[in-house]
Symmetry: C2
């Protein structure tokens, strides 16, 4: 028939979850194309060697996520939905899993959001928040210069905190939401900046200046610092792609 993905039987508890994971994985990894039909519930029941209820719950979850559609009758069953931009109930992160969104697009979008955020944060952030932002920037610097082998994970964590604080300072919950969503999806790329010592120093230095401009209530100056952050990021990503063939001589632990 169309496809026999050879699902592997599952046992134990959380069965419906495991089943859903296997199916979702098969879909997202391209094993099953949009428009394709999964086996019937009764077939899946035998493939996974579980009860039908578990299958139904798994399908229900996937349907809720918006990645399958369920039809009744002959030729019915679970059909893989074409992921449309426009389904408001589907999350941005799900869109990213589908590889429908080039990472560059996301970086660009984040850039736009960040620019607005630094402006709003400069205007609306209270003194306490501004002070905390500067403190965190200084801590970044401290972590980076204290030893030859800085704790990169700690640095990334603080970077993330600073970004969330920035979003908070806008006093706009939508910015908080979108920032968090982006952060969860883009994190790996964004933290490239902290992997190499060269970019790390520049980035942290820029963070400090950005924080100070925000604290000083200078939106436009902060804005230009923010732009520089993305210049760095773009450059860093470019370097990364160029050095893809040669072995990684980056000493990271």
């Amino acid at each position: 028939m169309s496809s026999d993905p050879k699902f592997t039987p599952v046992k134990g508890t959380n069965i419906s979850q495991k089943v859903a994971d296997q199916i979702e994985s098969a879909i997202l990894n391209g094993g099953i194309q949009p428009g394709n039909r999964l086996s019937s519930e009764r077939d899946l029941q035998t493939q996974f060697e579980v009860g039908r209820g578990a299958i139904r719950e798994a399908l229900q979850a996937l349907k809720q996520k918006g990645i399958i559609e369920i039809r009744k009758g002959v030729k019915g069953g679970a059909y893989v939905k074409k992921m449309e931009i426009g389904n408001a109930s589907e999350s941005l992160s799900l869109l990213l899993k589908q590889n429908k969104v080039p990472i560059d697009d996301l970086v660009e979008f984040r850039d736009a959001v960040d620019q607005t955020e630094v402006i709003l944060a400069s205007i609306r952030g209270d003194r306490q928040e501004k002070q905390r932002l500067v403190e965190m920037a200084m801590k970044l610097s401290e972590l980076s210069t204290r030893s030859d082998d800085p704790d990169v994970d700690a640095i990334k964590a603080i970077d993330r905190e600073m970004n969330m604080l920035l979003a908070q300072m806008t006093k706009n919950s939508v910015f908080e939401w979108i920032k968090n969503t982006i952060q969860m999806s883009i994190g790996s790329y964004d933290s490239l900046l902290y992997e190499s010592a060269n970019y790390r120093d520049k980035t942290i230095d820029n963070w400090i200046k950005t924080a100070k401009e925000i604290a000083a209530g200078e939106p436009l100056k902060a804005l230009s610092r923010c732009s520089y952050h993305y210049v760095l990021l773009q450059s860093c990503i470019k370097d990364q792609e160029l050095g893809k063939t040669e072995s990684n001589d980056v000493k990271e632990k």
Copy 2:
């Protein structure tokens, strides 16, 4: 005890959907507070007078939406989750249903997105798209001036199309996604501009000028037009809400 929400029995097909709707409604309307516990599956089964499978599927859907959490054992059951900004699997529209997002925040966010969009559209839109944008703007004008009683719904439809085209012209799928999501949530407020003849004329006139600036590849001029659109919208909303005077003083150009 906690509460007895008195769910009404359901019959027919799509039962699990109806059950889920009733429960979600009870939660969103505040009938059940975060932290509260729903009855056990077996109790709900009798309350709704349906099979247990239907209840489980409904709860599965709500769990997937992230609005309940399910625990096992004694004292187990479905607990209403506190909706946190930060759950990436929850959708923006769901956030809005919870009234956790002031509409002003959303308008502000949309403003920021739009500003970037007009700039990108000016730069990246091809000639065909730019021409189409101007054509649609002219059609808006035509629809508005043709009679004393313009077809407001048609105008709104074109406004929506123009917005989506604008997003397309950015050549960035994230902007398309976010634009559509916002559009679906903000639509009612945004179309206020077309209800009264006064704002309608100004808005359409501004749309035309915006489209022309974009077509001419003048990002900065288009940007200022875009800002004016939101000045109009803010003013319009303010007129609508006769009561709040000082709190919203966001008029900045």
